[in-house]
Amino acid sequence: MQCASCYYKGPIVPHNWRELPPFEWSPPNKKCPSYEYFKFRAFSPVGRGNLASIVFDDPNFPVTDSLIKIVYTCTGCGTCSEICKAHDPWTVIWALKEYLTSRGIKLPNPLPKLFANIENCGNIFGTEKPPPVNRNIPKKGRDVLFTGCFMRFTQPNLIETIIYVLRKAGLNLAWLGDEELCCGFLPGQQGDIDKMEKQAQQNVKRLREAGASRIIVSCAHCYKALRDYYPKLIDTFPFEVVHISEIYARLIEKGKITFNKKLQKKVTYHDPCFLGRHSKLYNEPRAVIESIPAVKLEEMERRKQWAYCCGSGAKAISLCYPDFSFSISKERLLEAKEKANTVVTSCSSCVLQMRRAAAKLGVEIYVQDISEIVAEGLE
């Protein structure tokens, strides 16, 4: 049925006569970023679902540029599937991408080049020489940091920050460094599951050789890939995968991370789509932020399962449709700005997207990764 809950304005269910619907049934008005931008039903989850049901059953359905645009402007934020458990539109759209890929379509630019870069260089940037990381980090160990190529190339200082914080807490991480390859999330999310599987096999082999039993991930996309997709793609996946915010929360609880500094600032927290909605990790980052002395966490209206996309759109939107991407970022940044002058998040893609958008759009807000605010509290 086509109830349109996935994108139509208003709550999913009405009041229950005594009171308004609880938070989990009452998403804010704007639900689907691509519908809000493009306005036509085809760009809504149910619209894409309609198209999927037709395309799946017709091997000769013409794959036009218009169809590609409709399918690939889905940000993958997953709000629709949070609303509609029955039809799970996000998974349908993902399956549609997989199907179209299997038909050999031409993906929107620059995805083909990025996928070739992964093939040739092991990362989406197409270079074998990433920026240096000024820490002497062992390559083998039980606890292995998985940075992902996006963080490795765009935010190398964040790797240093993570190592600094965890060493202070007595946790010595190993890191594959240049041996670490792209996790494959980007091609996987865009429908090229084979490419993700290939990356999974290579990364798992290298992690095994490094003696890893626990993998610590900071990027929400890598985290989702390693925690939930790799075990489905690899016969034996003998690793525990934890997000950096989970590690911080545990170390704070055990008293191994103690803060020396009062930060005296108000922050808001942006739930990355693939850490929050897709992985259901809502509480740990908040617990970490709230444990830093004098930090006041002000929540946005759209938070947790209703958090709005930052505009990165699993990286693909920012790369393929920058104007659309910045329009989403603008909305999210202005929403954050209403609550605080600092927005903290837990994904390197969100961090970079929001920083770039804030600079481009002139929104005066400081964007911080969770590791950075933790490090700030330690200094």
Partner: protein
């Protein structure tokens, strides 16, 4: 320049280039398909997103000039409403979603056509009032709720939502913008205060018209005061006591209980969580009971209990409360209706919930209606029959039946269609009517029981819309022109 290009150019001049599309894929998302399947695909040629009645007025002038059909549509296509029968221009009214008035003193609300019913309902509720709530997903638009056959929770006391509609703003096929009922006074100091203004009540002309007489752009509702006290009770009967169950509901409806809902136990059997119905019980009545003070509530609860127990009903703790706690269609068996998937995650068999026709019939006929459908489903080997019955204030029922069906199983689909057709014939021969007027889904015989009405409607249609541009399939006129 070809005709399509000329029309596109004219439409873009009216609403701007970003709100017009003739992309086949964009248009396909508006195709006439009442399920998330694709039984019938009829794609509009052009989709337009108007923002004002004035834009709609100009669009209709263009459509008359070229003789192109126009079909209005909100966001929801729950029953396939608003889909075009054949090409033409589709107006997606979703961008017209503003709430224009909530008057807590005079208890009125006015919203634009594309505003979701739930959005309006929430805003009204926050201000100490309420509207009977539709039982659909996020809710259709305020227009669809009003003029389509929306029977909501609260229907046992208030009937259909249309009974609370007091005024409409409509763009006629000619492009004229008119306001009927209380909306005639929308811009006066009194505001939209009374439905029955001078002259006949013209709201009815647009009710159930499926957009054939005009495109509704604003709706004025009369709101209800929100009662402070509520109770949600449920009673159940064994499978051989459907008649007693029905009689209990009729008696409770006659004392104006806020809402009474009827189901068989399958609804609960599908749910993995929540209260269960005891094995020996099969038919369930769920009551929403309200009171403006505690004494009133207790009195009504007591009356309902006495009625149900006098007909052999068994009180079910927690079931009623759970039923009304939130109102999604949460009985749908999630794992059974997922669409096809590829390699990630694991493949899940394709299966959907299939809806039979939605029926209107005297409530007293429920035992025969249910037994006929259950027997036919058994004969045709169709499983998972769920019945949903809204007991209405005129002692009729708005009843829908659903089954679970794998639509890749062509034999099962064939049996489903045979079962449906056999039931339809039986039901129509009794004089039954359908909630939906959905060509080509609902059979031609839908008008068979009211030929004079159809004749009059056709004459009105010819007067209003001589070029037959608005929702042209609605009164079987498509084939004639």
């Amino acid at each position: 320049m070809c005709v399509l290009s000329s029309i596109l150019s004219d439409l873009k001049n009216i609403v701007g280039p970003d709100r017009v599309s003739d992309s086949p894929e964009v248009c396909l998302a508006y195709a006439f398909n009442p399920f998330w399947g694709r039984d019938v695909i009829v794609r509009p040629d052009i989709v337009v997103l108007p923002r004002t009645p004035e834009e709609i007025s100009q669009i209709l002038k263009v459509s008359n000039e070229y003789g192109v059909p126009v079909t209005p549509k909100g966001a929801v296509g729950g029953g396939g409403h608003g889909g075009p029968l054949r090409g033409g221009i589709l107006l997606d009214l979703s961008l017209m979603d503003n709430i224009l008035l909530i008057d807590t003193v005079n208890m009125k609300a006015v919203a634009e056509a594309g505003c979701s019913f739930f959005k309006l309902s929430q805003e009204v509720f926050k201000r100490g009032m309420l509207l009977p709530t539709a039982a659909y997903g996020s809710g259709p638009s305020v227009v669809a709720s009003a003029v389509d056959p929306a029977y909501a929770f609260g229907g046992t006391r208030y009937g259909g939502n249309i009974n609370l509609v007091e005024g409409l703003e409509v763009v006629l096929p000619s492009g004229e913008i008119v306001r009927v009922g209380s909306m005639a006074y929308f811009d006066k100091e009194f505001g939209p205060y009374h439905r029955y203004i001078t002259g006949p009540d013209l709201i009815g002309l647009f009710t159930r018209s499926n957009g054939a007489f005009g495109i509704i752009t604003k709706v004025a509702y009369r709101c209800l005061r929100k009662p402070r006290y509520w109770a949600f009770n449920a009673f159940a009967w064994p499978s051989d006591m459907l008649k007693e169950c029905t009689q209990a509901a009729a008696e409770a409806a006659s004392i104006e209980i806020f809402d009474i809902h009827f189901n068989n136990r399958v609804r609960w059997d599908f749910k993995s969580e929540g209260p269960k119905i005891p094995e020996n019980l099969y038919f369930v009545l769920t009551f929403a009971i309200d009171g403006f003070n505690e004494l009133e509530l207790l009195g009504r609860e007591k009356a309902v209990r006495e009625i149900c127990e006098s007909y052999g009903g068994t009180y079910l703790p927690n079931v009623g409360e759970d039923f009304h706690a939130v109102w999604p269609g949460d009985f749908l068996p999630e794992e059974k209706i997922l669409p096809p998937r590829s390699t990630l995650p694991a493949k899940i068999p394709r299966s959907y919930v299939y809806l039979f026709d939605e029926l209107i019939h005297p409530w007293s006929w429920m035992p025969q209606i249910y037994e006929k459908m259950a027997r036919l489903c058994a004969d045709y080997k169709l499983a998972g029959l769920v019945v949903d019955g809204f007991v209405l204030n005129n002692l009729c029922s708005s009843t829908q039946f659903t089954i679970s069906l794998n639509d890749k199983d062509s034999d099962a689909v064939k049996r489903y269609i045979q079962c449906r057709n056999e039931f339809r014939k039986w039901f129509l021969d009794k004089g039954g009517t359908f909630q939906y007027r959905l060509p080509p889904y609902v059979p031609d015989k839908v008008w068979a029981n009211q030929p004079d009405t159809l004749k009059l409607l056709k004459r009105i249609k010819e007067l209003f819309d001589p070029n037959n541009v608005l929702s042209p399939g609605t009164f079987e006129l498509f084939e004639e022109r």
